[in-house]
Subunit: 498 residues, 2 copies
Amino acid sequence: MQETIRKFKEILAKLNAYQHALGVMQYDSETAMPRAGAAGYAAAMGALSEEVYKLQTSDAFKGAVRELLSRKAELDEITRREAEVLGEEMARMDCVPVQEFVEYQTELGLASSAWREAKQRSDYALFAPHLQKLLDSTRRFARYYAPDRDPYDVLLDEYEKGMTQAELDRFFGTLRENLMPLVQRVAERADAVDDRFLFGHFPVAQQRRLAGAVMEVMGLDRSRCALGEVEHPFTTNFSKNDVRITTHYHEESLASSLYSVIHEGGHALYELNTDDALIGSPLAGGASMGMHESQSRLYENLIGRSAGFARFLFPKVQALFPAQLAGVTAQDFYRAVNRSAPSLIRIDADELTYPFHILIRYELEKRLVAGDLPLQDLPAEWNRLYKEVLGVAVPDDAHGVLQDSHWSGGSFGYFPSYAIGSAYGAQILESMKKDLDVDALTEAGNLAPITAWLAERIYRFGKVKTPGELLRSACGADFDPQFYVDYLTRKYTALYNL
Amino acid sequence: MQETIRKFKEILAKLNAYQHALGVMQYDSETAMPRAGAAGYAAAMGALSEEVYKLQTSDAFKGAVRELLSRKAELDEITRREAEVLGEEMARMDCVPVQEFVEYQTELGLASSAWREAKQRSDYALFAPHLQKLLDSTRRFARYYAPDRDPYDVLLDEYEKGMTQAELDRFFGTLRENLMPLVQRVAERADAVDDRFLFGHFPVAQQRRLAGAVMEVMGLDRSRCALGEVEHPFTTNFSKNDVRITTHYHEESLASSLYSVIHEGGHALYELNTDDALIGSPLAGGASMGMHESQSRLYENLIGRSAGFARFLFPKVQALFPAQLAGVTAQDFYRAVNRSAPSLIRIDADELTYPFHILIRYELEKRLVAGDLPLQDLPAEWNRLYKEVLGVAVPDDAHGVLQDSHWSGGSFGYFPSYAIGSAYGAQILESMKKDLDVDALTEAGNLAPITAWLAERIYRFGKVKTPGELLRSACGADFDPQFYVDYLTRKYTALYNL
């Protein structure tokens, strides 16, 4: 048994080294690589990924995992969870015939290029045949894996362990029922909030200083967390001691980079505070997509866009941009960064309308996976739902069904985690308020106790606990969307004097 | 045979992928990695390097190389040279018993840390025992490889194929005889050139613009060549289409970053113009250390610090720093960036005194490798030579024998390539002048024909030709240091009105 564990950990260490290398190459390709480097980069990534695949599917590794799973009772908690998580991944992979897997990988590459071109030309027909193939494969793979379960539930499980359609139907149903009227009333009063001072000329050098100041307030130690500049912000990490957040400075917008830094900073805090015992383990990092997103959104919205934090932050922002923000108050700033108006593009949506962008995608991909929605009808259905739910008219597919890359990457069942994350965040914050005076801490810019609370109850566990277990241990209750509904209702009713 | 070639190229492609990954990780560690990422980075690098070592020493690879070498006549030129170059590397490695190789690798790590600490504390005694071990191993390895040859010649061959002590003795002898009197006369008139306006306050944002402008003049296409910021500038590349130059902006110095960009840009042009047929081959890139350095120094000094280029460049520099350079002329600028004064630190040395820093290291390492210089006498000998050759008194070992990292990295025989490079450059430029009006092109900032000339005769060949073959094909003659002596004599005699 000791020998099996040793062999298992040895392969994990090697996999970790490859994934470290692949991660750095990916990061480099978005932050530093000159454009023409793409071909060499793809070739090197391909060769390294092949080694990862070989290791993951080697008899030595599979045998070790199987043996560990057969004698779980003898394992320490971390090794047991590693074996379980990897065993599940293995089972998902093993049930797909190699030939089909290879074809799917090839199709992913083609679909991704086709989507990019289709979006650029706003021509859905270029992408539809690829989407069909990806959908067919995805559905088939889900059936191979769990012939008796609903395929969409199988997919959800991959991104948010334990999440089901039944639960999401309830979740989105609650949002529709409770928040759609609010969205509509706010939309009618859109002009009640003026955010024009957030747009103008904000030199990048000053924005960089603001980003640095925000990182300091968030306790993002620069010796462990770097800030890079990219086209589309993201967070990545190669260990808990090497985390990279990124941002994009738009000279004409004050809030864009500011809130992207806070959002990515929330992701980073999760990684930075994983337990040391998980360094190099596949259990390091967030428990699920939804749980990770709960932390980025908790910091971005529930803390970062709160009235208290606005009072703390605004004087610092104003000191950096005195001319642009002359005559603006902290209250003006608070209202402006929370302005809500239904819009076309998910990634630009405000906190209140955001979950409805997800609701639309959820409804559609559920039907797509079930085979209830022919692909030729998808754009029209997309547009119909945007009109029905958000009241906006989609002018073309580039601003409609082609806006996101997720489906072109084969990710069906991923979107819900964005909305679930926001709802987790609201529930977690309510629980935190029983222990901490969150409002006072936020207004004082003293976020360390908040992060410490989260680290103790969520961050340190990595993937050792499932999202459901974490919620129960952090909140003493199962997932309950009502906290999210109440939070948004309270905030936006006050903000718009409804 | 075809099967052997296929297998050989397959392993080369995999090695190339690993080296790409390792290169990107190395670059990232110097440009982006947060400090605490070092431990994870070292572990990942170690695991990947082990895979490289396994591949390079695999029976499959060795067997393929051996078979190719036994049937050279049947091979195309590139495959033949690949087999030769790799066969030689293999022979160097194979003759060292594995146990000794592993011990040496471990000692390299220890020596590097010891050197760092020794330099910081200016305490040579901390480093000396490690230097002794590295020297002993290096000498032993050279003997294993070529028992009948002088060990220092064997080492030289590794950095500059075909270079010998006999030739270097002639080279440095020529410099001593012809240039030392010039160095001394210039030193006596050091005050004749005023470079104080190069020091002051030069905001980084403006320096970045200058770096961009210089890259454009040099034809460094940003879609293939990126510019990064680091502590100590270097150039690296992962293919001819992904080249990274780096610089460090010192706000108090105008010339430091400017000439580092031109220097690294010269290295980059070499890589960018390697033949497409060598993409992914171990023959891509510079023919030798000396040949690579010839190109960085040709651009930095022979072109970049020429009077004509100063007339072209200075108005642009002045436009970026009008207050700092008020009243300065292009001629003042030309004189200032060429100011010569004997100094203690090699990497800060001017063009004229630079080769004498190398001469001192050459004399010392030749005696070290021959076993003629006991290590306890090394610092005193270093100081004696600095006094004798450059007329400067070394205050402590941090500014003396401990200043460079090379010996701590086991690199004996590397230093000469720096001086050889400058001399190659002078010879190559003289040859170019038969075909091109180099001075007129330089003064017009029209460097494209110069780069094209070099690409045609040197860059495109990568390592397909040896440095000696390149010189003969580019200049129609063997290496001749007289061009270098004449160039420096002409330039500095005029500059100091001697």
